[in-house]
């Protein structure tokens, strides 16, 4: 899972230590994602008693990391979100991802909000795999975004988006079906 995340930021070649460190230092989104993965790993470790000795050290460390990411870059990947492998965060600033499900190999950008509409956190959006989400997109509410679809920049999703379609505008309309976003997803890398 971690390898898939890092692979999105390192285009090709062998993943040695130097390009790895460079990728983590340059991609602030990757730092946020690694902090999130660490927190999820801790939450999973809490279910196995033989990991419990690590938790008193792990949770404060996670707290520090997440605070740093949130204060410095304002990327809020909360542990209530279920993010699949290979997320790419293109830019920092005003990103909120909580109480939702994201598939594998998605791309998000700055000012993207993916969260439930209600404060109690029920009814979050469900997003499929290989979805490209542009800057300033808002997905608030129990909507389903199909795999391989593309949400253009500034889209406000107000209804379910079928798979492999291009959604655009406020309110979001499906302007094309069978849209291939492979180029957009690869441009991120």
């Amino acid at each position: 899972m971690l390898a898939a995340d890092i692979r999105r930021c390192v285009p090709g070649g062998r993943l040695t230590l130097a390009p790895l460190l460079r990728a983590v230092a340059r991609n602030w989104g990757l730092q946020a994602l690694l902090a999130y993965r660490f927190g999820r790993a801790l939450a999973r470790a809490g279910r196995r008693w033989y990991w419990w000795p690590l938790l008193p050290l792990g949770w404060p460390l996670y707290y520090l990391l997440s605070r740093y990411v949130r204060c410095a870059y304002d990327i809020r990947l909360e542990l209530s979100a279920d993010i699949g492998a290979g997320l790419y965060i293109g830019h920092f600033g005003n990103i909120i991802v909580r109480n939702c499900r994201l598939g594998t190999y998605c791309s998000i950008a700055q000012s993207v909000h993916i969260e439930p509409a209600l404060a109690d956190g029920s009814g979050g959006p469900v997003i499929g795999a290989h979805v490209w989400i542009g800057a300033h997109a808002r997905i608030r509410g129990p909507f389903e975004v199909g795999s391989g679809s593309t949400l253009s920049a500034g889209t406000v999703v107000v209804r379910d988006v079928p798979a492999r379609s291009l959604c655009l505008g406020n309110p979001g309309r499906i302007v094309m079906r069978g849209y291939d976003n492979e180029r957009l997803l690869n441009a991120a890398e």
């Binding site: 830019h91 920092f92 600033g93 800057a135 500034g154």
Partner: protein, 204 residues
């Protein structure tokens, strides 16, 4: 470009900021701009741009590049803003206090007001960067992207997504954007921030 010109730029910006904040007809000290987060953001960008432009020309260029990186990082962390070092911003440009500005424009003309939470130059292709003319008013939460030109005196309403070239003096808005009016005079919007706030609240 000399170091003195950097200082002059900053002083010019400060004067512009102080004038925008003040009520009409009164004079205020330009030191008041030091309380503006937008001015600090612009100053950090000026330092980044000046250091990057000079890093290859002088000895100790590595030091200048370090300063450029530091001010770029500070702009990101303190103001959540990312202004590309190669983006040429003219004098007398107002950036709002909220920050959250992603600016990869080719150039920004004089007298332009850019509000917070705005993305300029978001496009997946390389070198698809917009050119912003002078005296443009760009509202909050806008996205201006693609290889386009925003003409002089154009007005971009809040929450709009512009992907086409806008002629001078046009009023565009909406997501996706459309031209709402041509020949719109935005000088009241730009003359004072109080007016701008009222107008933004009432028109949209």
């Amino acid at each position: 470009m000399q170091m003195r010109s950097l200082a002059r730029q900053l002083r010019e910006d400060a004067r512009f900021y102080a004038r925008l904040r003040a009520a009409r007809g009164t004079t205020v000290s330009s030191w008041r701009a030091l309380g503006d987060r937008g001015w600090w953001l612009l100053a950090l960008h000026r330092v980044t741009a000046a250091c990057m432009a000079r890093a290859n020309l002088v000895p100790f260029g590595l030091l200048l590049r370090l300063v450029a990186h530091a001010s770029y990082f500070l702009a990101g962390v303190c103001f959540k803003s990312d202004i590309a070092g190669r983006c040429r911003i003219a004098g007398c440009v107002y950036l709002a206090n909220e920050g959250y500005l992603t600016c990869g424009a080719r150039s920004v003309g004089a007298g332009t007001l850019i509000h917070g939470f705005t993305t300029i130059g978001y496009a997946t292709g390389e070198d698809a960067r917009p050119t912003i003319g002078s005296n443009v008013w760009i509202g909050p939460n806008c996205i201006v992207s693609g290889d386009i030109t925003i003409g002089d005196g154009a007005t971009i309403l809040p929450e709009s997504f512009v992907t086409f070239s806008v002629s001078a003096g046009a009023l565009v808005g909406g997501n996706p954007a459309r031209v709402i009016r041509r020949g719109f005079d935005n000088s009241p919007l730009r003359s004072s921030l109080q007016v701008a706030g009222d107008a933004a609240a009432s028109t949209w």
